[in-house]
């Protein structure tokens, strides 16, 4: 024991003797200060706004309307205060800003930025300072390895191989029932998430005896995808799978209609559950498969949707619901611990089960157990289709109605 710990221990002992059981000596915090740096401008701004930033704001409003987060230790509710910075879609900027939040602003908790590589840039920083963070918008094959190194980082999203595996089994099932011949076309945006989802999908197909007859990439920010669609169409596939980003997701759906491409299975990734996808396509969304999914009857979801609509006058999307649920998880962990003790909060997230609007969340090795991987537009709303045996999982709508 060095001198400092001795003195500290001594003061604590004296304090404990002089005070009653509740820690009255500590002042009740005026607010729980929660910081984040996120892309409010630059190329990631639209995604960040839709999935993350809007949910932080809504959650903070919901919490404060209810009086705040209950801290058992002080026997009262404490409101939350958000401290935000714009990382301008730059990884170096996001790292600098999160360090500033922790060291200079000394926030109590940190919320994640948006996008896989932004999250992976921040995770070592928050881990070093022992801030538990749920990185909902991160998916990469490396994450399982990285999670071992970063005990304070949690990854609630399905990782690429888990996202692709159910697609392989789905195709194999349809093939064995004689509904399809087992030939698929796959394209992806030339960006890490697109590449990893695509690679995982091709592997899943190989494992299940499905033939990938067309496999191409296209650059991010592409202006015309009709040549790609025409070529894919010529191979007459049973299914078309696009591991895409929002702008190309919208473009693929529109141009498929224009070129008259009507595969029995149509899947696209990021952006497919966005409300704008439905605004654009109307009833034609039905049957489109997507990356993600949700329990569309989860408790609290309907009320959440109403609050979301009241705040933003637009619908939410399944990714945003998941994001909100991870912030709820953090809130519940704080309430169970009863004070801002980040080590204990981390333990609680790692071991507890959290009922949220996205269903019950539980983590193993900091990765969410059994996340939703495949959803589908059915009757004008997004429902969860895979993995099977999830609460309120819906049967696959097959074949997809023509555009």
């Amino acid at each position: 024991m060095n001198r400092r710990t001795f003195v500290k221990g001594g003061v604590a002992a004296v304090g404990a003797a002089a005070l009653p059981r509740k820690a009255r000596g500590q002042t009740v915090p005026k607010a729980i200060r929660i910081g984040y740096a996120i892309s409010l401008s630059g190329p990631f701004a639209p995604g960040a706004q839709s999935t993350s930033w809007s949910q932080y704001k809504l959650w903070a409003k919901d919490v404060n309307d209810a009086g705040g987060i209950a801290l058992k230790k002080f026997d009262r509710k404490v409101p939350v205060e958000l401290i935000e910075y714009d990382d301008r879609s730059q990884p170096d900027e996001v790292i600098r800003l999160v360090e500033r939040l922790i060291l200079q602003d000394t926030v109590d908790l940190v919320l994640p930025p948006w996008g896989t590589h932004m999250n992976l840039a921040v995770a070592p920083v928050t881990n070093k300072h022992e801030y538990p963070v749920l990185f909902f918008t991160a998916t990469a094959l490396r994450i399982r390895e990285l999670a071992k190194r970063w005990p304070y980082a949690f990854f609630p999203l399905a990782q690429p191989d888990d996202s692709a595996a159910p697609l392989g089994t789905m195709l194999a099932g349809l093939k064995s029932q004689g509904k399809i011949k087992g030939r698929v076309a796959a394209v992806h945006v030339a960006e890490q998430t697109g590449v990893e989802l695509h690679t995982s999908f091709v592997e899943a197909c190989k494992k299940n005896g499905i033939e990938v007859v067309y496999s191409k990439s296209y650059p991010l920010g592409v202006s015309d995808l009709s040549p790609v669609l025409r070529e894919a169409m010529q191979t007459q596939p049973d299914g078309f799978f696009a591991f895409s980003y929002p702008t190309d997701t919208f473009m693929l759906a529109e141009q498929s209609q224009v070129v008259g491409f009507n595969p029995a299975i149509y899947y696209s990734a990021v952006g497919t559950p966005f409300p704008v996808f439905k605004t654009k396509l109307g009833d034609k969304v039905n049957g489109v498969l997507l990356w993600g999914g949700l329990d569309h009857k989860a408790p609290g979801l309907a009320e959440y949707r109403q609050r979301h609509r009241a705040m933003y006058s637009r619908d939410t999307e399944s990714g945003a619901v998941g994001m909100y649920a991870t912030v709820q998880t953090l809130q519940q962990a704080v309430e169970r611990v009863g004070e801002i003790d980040r080590r204990k909060i981390r333990e609680e997230i790692a071991t507890g089960t959290f009922p949220t609007i996205f269903g019950a969340l539980k983590f193993k090795d900091q990765l969410l157990i059994d996340p939703w991987t495949v959803g589908q537009w059915q009757n004008g709303e997004v429902v969860g289709v895979y993995p099977a045996q999830k609460p309120n999982e819906q049967p696959l709508l097959f074949p997809k109605p023509k555009w």
């Binding site: 401008s41 701004a45 706004q49 191409k216 990439s217 040549p227 529109e254 209609q257 070129v259 605004t279």
Partner: protein, 289 residues
């Protein structure tokens, strides 16, 4: 047949590139002002079209009734009150270029920030004329064809105005040498302001038309400013038909490259083409003399 379809789609795509660049070509090539906030007026046009559809269920093209005059006036104001003082105090063209770039770079963030705060940063998209039409036996989307035709008509009109009217001659004189133009009695300030404002109006038109087939957001402006800049440099600064031709060439290269080589390389092919043009003809394909 398939190859012809690819070529046609490439040309239609190229028309869009040309369309996006026309306005900036007027601002940079004729009024000699490198306006980095150009794309924000493109974004404004796209939003006006979107609100027409989203709020009032009207034809998105009606958005131009609002966005084109607003953009024209806003650009005139920018020229008159922000850029003209710079022109007056700058010792030479190089110093002026640097100052104009800094000012318009700042404006970019102001306009983008205002749009994000007021309209939200999320993706916007709507469906308009997303139907195939047959052109010489090949299929093209009607909304894209519309943008292509607009590009041809606007480039043609600008070409005729610049080369055959008196005001056009004056504008070309300004583009070549503003000081000499003033010496022979051209009202440089007035005409440059007009060219600059018209460029802004064209940005709104191109934003409207492109938004019918490509989704956008409040932060999209800078992407289109850069696209436009590449087309202008390639076609020759101030050359309207050159601008259209460069756009078509880029679109064609992108489509053919995607078809014959790999769609993943379309961006690389475009930039390779740009580099080759810069190496072979640094002043642009259709540059004067």
């Amino acid at each position: 047949m398939f190859l012809f379809e690819v070529v046609l789609n490439g040309l239609v795509l190229g028309g869009m590139y040309g369309l996006v660049a026309l306005g900036l070509n007027l601002q940079y090539g004729v009024a000699r002002m490198m306006n980095l906030s150009y794309g924000e007026f493109f974004m404004g046009g796209a939003f006006a079209a979107f609100w027409m559809v989203a709020l009032w269920k009207l034809d998105p093209l009606l958005g131009m009734i609002l966005s084109v005059p607003v953009s024209f006036v806003a650009n005139w104001v920018i020229y008159r009150f922000l850029l003209l003082p710079l022109i007056r105090r700058s010792p030479d063209q190089d110093a002026l270029d640097a100052e104009v770039i800094l000012v318009t770079f700042g404006l970019l963030f102001v306009f983008q920030g205002l749009a994000i705060v007021n309209w939200g940063g999320e993706y916007r998209s709507y469906s308009f004329l997303a139907v195939p039409v047959k052109v010489l036996g090949a299929e093209v989307a009607l909304n894209r064809l519309l943008a292509f035709l607009a590009a041809c008509v606007l480039a043609g009109t600008l070409f005729v105005v610049l080369s055959m009217t008196r005001a056009g001659s004056a504008l070309r004189a300004i583009a070549i040498d503003p000081i000499a133009a003033r010496l022979v009695g051209v009202d440089v300030q007035k005409l440059s302001a007009l060219a600059f404002a018209t460029g802004g109006a064209l940005a709104a038109i191109s934003g409207t038309l492109v938004s019918t087939f490509i989704s956008f957001s409040a932060s999209i402006g800078v992407v289109y400013t850069l696209k436009a800049l590449i087309v202008i440099i390639m076609g020759g600064v101030g050359r309207m038909m050159g601008c259209l031709a460069a756009g078509l060439l880029l679109g064609l290269a992108e489509a053919l490259g995607g078809y014959l080589v790999d769609p993943g390389l379309t961006l690389a092919i475009n930039f390779a083409l740009f580099l080759i043009v810069l190496l072979v003809r640094p002043t642009g394909l259709f540059a004067r003399g």
